[in-house]
Symmetry: C2
Subunit: 146 residues, 2 copies
DNA sequence: CTGGATCCGACATGATACTG
DNA sequence: CAGTATCATGTCGGATCCAG
């Protein structure tokens, strides 16, 4: 992630419906790799990004607070993730030039709209995790039987 | 499979609201790693999974058809992805015992509900990709200036 | 045609140490 | 406190070969 930061993917799908038209074409969206949409999707659907955005909903948090709240994130990954989100205009970073450095992170309006969307995905997962767990057990059992 | 397929993460967040209750607690969901929700999320938000589910919406496709439609996917990744989705009960795999093997993939009802959700995420991305692109340019320009 | 198995390189991520 | 820099490594993913 940190390496290839300045890729310039093709705007393949920013055709018409990207502007907001109620295009409901079932499938045909990206398919092609190096598509901007797919790239953004990968970033947005990222493990840590998801968590950061969720935690930042409606409140500011400092670097260390975020780090403490997100179990398992390394300092490095948190920094990288925050930078990406900042670059994408989803998170705003405010530095207070005081003696012990103080940096606060918060969602931008754009980030806020994403939060809603992400929340939908999370809710879906929460609602169906049991079904998925069951499906896995069934699948594994079937496999083991063979 | 080769990667971590048989992890048994803790059911940390499958508490109450997971059952479907209209719980709108702003943030507190996973945070902890090795949380089942987070694991499912990672799978579901996966690059290839997203594409496969999108393509499978409302129609069956054969292995080769999928491979052809998804630009850039290797045989291996497609196989792995399909297996995961099948295990999770999102995709149904049907094998026809004919001379040239014929295997068809289609979404299960559960997979169908996920498609809707994913579609939301994709739509968001499509609608905001310009804003994000602009934010990136602005950010990069700001950086370069320094 | 479908896909399992293996080898292997590349990149993402983690751990650690250092700085303003 | 909030990073940056460096090094170590695990995993992902691609290529290839092979089998039912």
């Amino acid at each position: 992630m940190e390496e290839g930061t300045s890729k310039s993917p093709s705007h393949c799908a920013d055709t018409d419906h990207a502007a907001g038209a109620a295009d409901t074409d079932p499938f045909q969206w990206d398919t092609r790799e190096d598509c901007e949409v797919r790239q953004i999707l990968d970033r947005v659907a990222d493990k840590w990004s998801l968590l950061v955005i969720a935690l930042l909903d409606r409140r500011k948090l400092r670097f260390t607070e975020l780090r403490r709240e997100i179990d398992g994130v390394s300092q490095r990954m948190l920094t990288v993730t925050l930078r990406q989100l900042e670059r994408d205009g989803l998170v705003k970073r405010t530095v207070y030039p005081v003696v012990p450095p103080r940096v606060e992170y918060e969602l931008t309006p754009l980030g806020g709209t994403l939060h809603t969307t992400i929340r939908t995905l999370v809710t879906w997962t929460e609602e169906h995790q049991n079904e998925i767990a069951a499906a896995r057990e069934a699948y594994d059992a079937r496999e083991a039987a063979v």
